[in-house]
Amino acid sequence: MKKTFDLIDLDCANCARKMEDAIKKLDGVSDANVSFMTQKMTVEADDSRFDAIMKEVVKCVRRVEPDCEIVLK
């Protein structure tokens, strides 16, 4: 499953890159893209564990940029 999320207060391009790196390394994530320009994140991951994986993704984002928020739709 591939889902796109909006990011709020993603202030630094290098952080976006670091997030992307970290999310890609998560177990179950097949691909991820964090765009600083569009302030959007795309995550492609296992259908069955998507919600659990998203929790990990949120942690990754927090770790790199504490003020950045993911809009979970």
């Binding site: 630094c12 890159r17 600083f36 959007k40 940029e65 504490p66």
Partner: protein, 615 residues
Amino acid sequence: MTRKQKKALYRILIAGALLLIAALLPVEGLWRLPLFLIPYVIVGWDVLRKAALNIAHGQVFDENFLMCVATIGALVLGEYAEAVGVMLFYQVGELFQSIAVGRSRRSIAQLMDIRPDSANVLRDGELTEVSPEEVAVGELIAVRPGEKIPLDGVVTEGSSSLDTAALTGESVPRHVETGDEVISGCVNKTGLLTVRVTKPYGESTVAKILDLVENAASRKAKAENFITRFARYYTPAVVIGAALLAVIPPLFLGNWAEWVHRALIFLVISCPCALVISIPLSFFGGIGGASARGILVKGGNYLELLSKTSVAVFDKTGTLTEGVFALTALEPAEGVTEVELLEAAALAEGHSNHPIAQSLRQAYDGVIDLTRVADVTEIPGRGVSAKADGRTILAGNEKLMAGSGIALPESERTDAGTVVHVAAEGQYLGRAVIADRVKATAAEAVSALRQRGIRTVMLTGDSQAVGEAVANQLGLDETHTRLLPADKVEHVERLLRERDPGGVLAYVGDGVNDAPVLSRADLGIAMGAMGSDAAIEAADVVLMDDDPAKLITAMDISRKCMRIVRENIVFALGVKGLFLLLGALGAANLWEAVFADVGVAVIAILNASRMLRTK
């Protein structure tokens, strides 16, 4: 400026003023520290806070953290003014960056301003304004003049002209009336239209285009991947360099304070921000600028490939030619005028639905009074015989003429296309040539490609005579005719083997029958894709309208983009490298280093934002 940016500006101004006061006050010794700490904290508290949070998360190579180490290091060394100044400059740079990026974001959003806000749907006899997503297939929507068409559909009532500029970059309005298909994203200019929706919003043209452009960022160009890899190693390498610089030379030379000071310079320029922001911004701007002109590029990688094109392979029908039959030449016999010839032909073909008959009637400038025509006989494989105004008119091929014993004069011209001979009462009137017309801009596009040193090849399933006539007219380097789809793939594979290893083979087709070739080529370009889902899916680059010259525009955009990308890489790496060297040699101070960091980032962003003004 956003509220956040304004707040940052006030903090910078206040801290700047306080720094000035602190520097001017005649305070001596350790008392100066608290005096400078006030502006330091005012301007830098968010950096300090983020650094603390990140170090708790184990992010050692975080920019905020490194910035703090550098400035606190300067404070410890007693360089108070420098410490505050560096933090201040850093924040000024961040503010500039944020403004520049915000501005680029807005102009890209404007370029892609094709998203309809609402749809006026006709329900229970009343118009209701709803969001386009809520309209179902089969419902009727009203589109008033000045509004965007929110969903794809068919006009059921009204006529108007449509502005398709946002989709195709083409400014000539398109006329539509009842029965015509309309595409979402076009602007209704003149009349009220009622449209029956044929596709849900998610599948409509406008949603597909927006989705495609937004997702283009995820297909990264080589240059972007290089930056990502580089950024991964750059910060740790510079920080390790700083640590070594702070410890090793003083072991032999002494003077710890001086070497630590030099090491701090390393920390200040340890962020690869300039590259990490400006390179994706250039590609994003290039893709956005291209889409505003009706060129959809599906990713940064394709934009990069476009700039390296060395072979351009074209399909003929629908790509270089209109794909529609039209009258291309009239050759009346001696003593006959062109009008007489055309009138006779149009009358004889007056009742036929054959494409050739239609194009003759279209060429005839006037109304054909069919009551003048009688006794129409179609002779299969030959043509048509009809009585008009009492005269027997024959219109057809050589066999028809030969069968009626009419001698054809020798013609020097060998026209590509279908020749219709016309005779009346056994007398030869002349001939009309009907052919697929070459597009107005095709020759210009081919010659522009050749000027750029690009090999131009045409592959067509059409006959040798037709294919070669088109090729001669356009001045192509190479033409292959009478090809089956499989032969086209074979030719493309041969051309792929022949092209330079660094070059790119681009295949330009209309996306209808050439999906295998489009995917086999290095770069598949589909043309005339307004509303054609298949072409949008199959190709890497989509030219929304039928204009082959758009290929040149697309290449110009890609070349400009790649040039900006190269400039930024060389400039940012060059300046940073220079300052690392100067810093290590003790020839640069922290002020200069912070310029090397944020100043370069701002300049690189400004350079990248040139991509948004592609005209």
